[in-house]
């Protein structure tokens, strides 16, 4: 298996704090990989390190065989990584269409009909988005914003899609929808690395998973195996209480 994304012994500081203490992760082409972890475990820092928003202190990040740590964010994005950020972070003062157009910014030199295909792809995945193109993104509901955020990331035609807590703040019905979409996008050939706290749903969709704790990878296995592990059940599925998640 050839790794599309490879983090090797990445150490990243967040201010004076060592947020990542030697993280190694591999994502192969075509996979859905899930990164589990509680608050402040280093999940978001991992995303930011991959994207070049923060620079690792040591270790390396390779994408498609090329070393990308130390590159500015826009260069990382141009190589085919895009992000669905935590809490959506749409450009609220822009229309839905303008948000999608921003998603295609890294491909602004491509022929317009190619970009047009990408809009059509987003509209097919999210018919609701097409109805709201002229609306300001800040006025959409949470679920609709999540659709636009995913659509915006897809407009870059990423080879690797990073998703930071896509289920956060969404009604349960939307959570299932979002993960259906993740599966569909993956089926169309996009590799996905998804960071989640909602282990039950995420591991249900992912092929493999990593568990991040305190800046270290403490577990790595196939999703089905992780789902059956006692520690995971206790820590993320609340099995000891009443089975609710």
């Amino acid at each position: 298996m050839t790794a599309l994304l490879q983090l090797e012994q990445v150490v990243t500081y967040y201010g004076p704090m060592r947020a990542l203490k030697g993280v190694s992760i591999e994502v192969a082409s075509g996979e859905i990989v899930c990164l589990l972890g509680g608050n402040a475990s280093g999940k978001s820092t991992t995303m930011k390190t991959i994207l070049g928003i923060v620079r690792p202190h040591s270790g390396s990040v390779h994408f498609g065989g090329e070393r990308i740590d130390g590159l500015p964010t826009q260069s990382v994005v141009e190589r085919g990584i895009s992000l669905v950020p935590e809490a959506r972070r749409l450009f609220g003062r822009m229309t839905v269409w303008e948000n999608l157009a921003m998603g295609a910014f890294s491909r602004r030199d491509r022929p317009p009909d190619e970009i047009e295909q990408d809009y059509e792809r987003v509209y097919t995945l999210f018919p609701r988005v097409k109805e709201r193109l002229a609306q300001l993104a800040g006025t959409l509901s949470g679920g609709e914003q999540q659709m636009v955020a995913i659509g915006r990331a897809l407009m870059a035609r990423p080879r690797l899609l990073l998703m930071d807590e896509p289920s956060m703040g969404l009604a349960p019905i939307f959570v299932d929808q979002v993960f259906d979409i993740i599966r569909a996008i993956n089926g169309q050939g996009t590799t996905i690395l998804v960071v989640e706290q909602n282990a039950a749903v995420a591991l249900g969709v992912a092929h493999r998973g990593y568990v991040l704790q305190n800046g270290r990878i403490v577990m790595a296995d196939r999703a089905a195996t992780l789902l059956a592990t006692d520690e995971i059940r206790r820590a993320y599925l609340g099995d000891e209480e009443d089975g609710a998640c």
Binding site: I53, P72, T73, Q74, P85, F105
Partner: protein, 316 residues
């Protein structure tokens, strides 16, 4: 006291003056507001960039008058003055961003550092022009380009061609900027950086290139305003950027700093208020009235007329 009929008689005339002056304030205010919108910084050197624009225009006009190279028609002369003035001031804006501001942000400066740096740049530009051109005022040969006889009377209001041209040029430049910001990829990138810099970078936007572009555009518009003001007041000096800059900054705050349409609106409003205060109250009080209105607006709408709630100060 003026009677009602007298007031109604002068009012249209004063409104025309006020709006003309206001479009120029608005043009300068855009430079303040665009930079604030993306860096949360007040570029105090902006007024002096405007002053440099006036000097570049003056130098070109002098050369044109001396050489008789082109007929002295505004349609020919004005572009020949505006283009070099805008290019030169745009370049100064780029240089300031690169040398005086960016290094500070790159090293994690607080809000205060770049502000002090901007004051330094302001003094630098003033003294630079004073050294090169001298401290005495220079004269714009306005009437060689816009003869005094060029006046139009519309419904009892007598307006000079100069005033119309100034308002039209300023309006055209603002409209051009509006189209760029609202309808182009570059404009979307500028708005994206203003709203969420980190997400703009994640979209593939080179944030510092957008910052530089913003400085260039804002400074070039300021430079164009310098040429227009030179024609209007016919005298320029190295210190003219101070009061004009202060007025334009006021206009930007009045309209809602960070908001481009707000800067245009604030500029025109300020120009009209000044013009009315000059006529109907007392010329000596025009600034007091203008700033009084500013204070009133800020009391009731702290973000300015078109501004949103005060920005999140933690964003930088």
């Amino acid at each position: 006291m003026l009677t009602w009929s007298q007031i109604l008689g002068i009012l249209p005339q004063q409104l025309v003056f006020g709006i003309t002056l206001g479009t120029v304030y608005g043009l300068i205010a855009i430079g303040y507001t665009m930079v604030y919108g993306i860096l949360f910084m007040i570029n105090f050197a902006h007024g002096d960039i405007f002053m440099v624009g006036a000097y570049v225009g003056w130098a070109v006009l002098g050369a044109l008058l001396a050489s008789h190279a082109v007929p002295l028609n505004p349609v020919i002369v004005l572009p020949l003055m505006l283009v070099p003035a805008m290019a030169f001031t745009g370049a100064i804006g780029l240089a300031l961003e690169r040398l005086a501001y960016r290094p500070l942000y790159r090293r994690g400066a607080t809000r205060l550092g770049p502000l002090i740096s901007a004051i330094g740049a302001s003094i630098f530009l003033q003294n630079g022009v004073m050294l090169v051109e001298g401290a005495r005022e220079r004269v714009y040969m306005t009437y060689a380009v816009f003869p005094r006889a060029w006046r139009f009377s519309v419904g009892g209001v007598s307006v000079s061609a100069l005033v119309i041209v100034i308002a039209c040029v300023a309006g055209l430049l603002m409209w051009g900027l509006h189209v760029i910001v609202q309808r182009t990829t570059l404009g979307r990138a500028i708005r994206a950086v203003a709203e969420d810099r980190e997400m703009a970078a994640v979209m593939g936007v080179n944030v510092w290139r957008v910052v530089a572009t913003t400085f260039f555009v804002g400074s070039a518009l300021g430079g164009a305003a310098g040429v227009l003001v030179g024609f209007y007041y016919t005298q320029i000096d190295f210190f003219m950027g101070y009061s004009a800059g202060l007025k334009a900054f006021t206009a930007a705050v009045l309209g809602g700093i960070g908001n481009i349409r707000g800067a245009m609106l604030g500029g025109i409003l300020l120009g009209v208020i000044e013009s009315l205060a000059t006529t109907f109250i007392n010329p000596a009080f025009k600034d007091a009235v203008a700033f009084g209105v500013l204070i009133l607006v800020l009391v009731f709408r702290p973000g300015g007329i078109l501004g949103e709630a005060l920005p999140d100060w933690k964003r930088i």
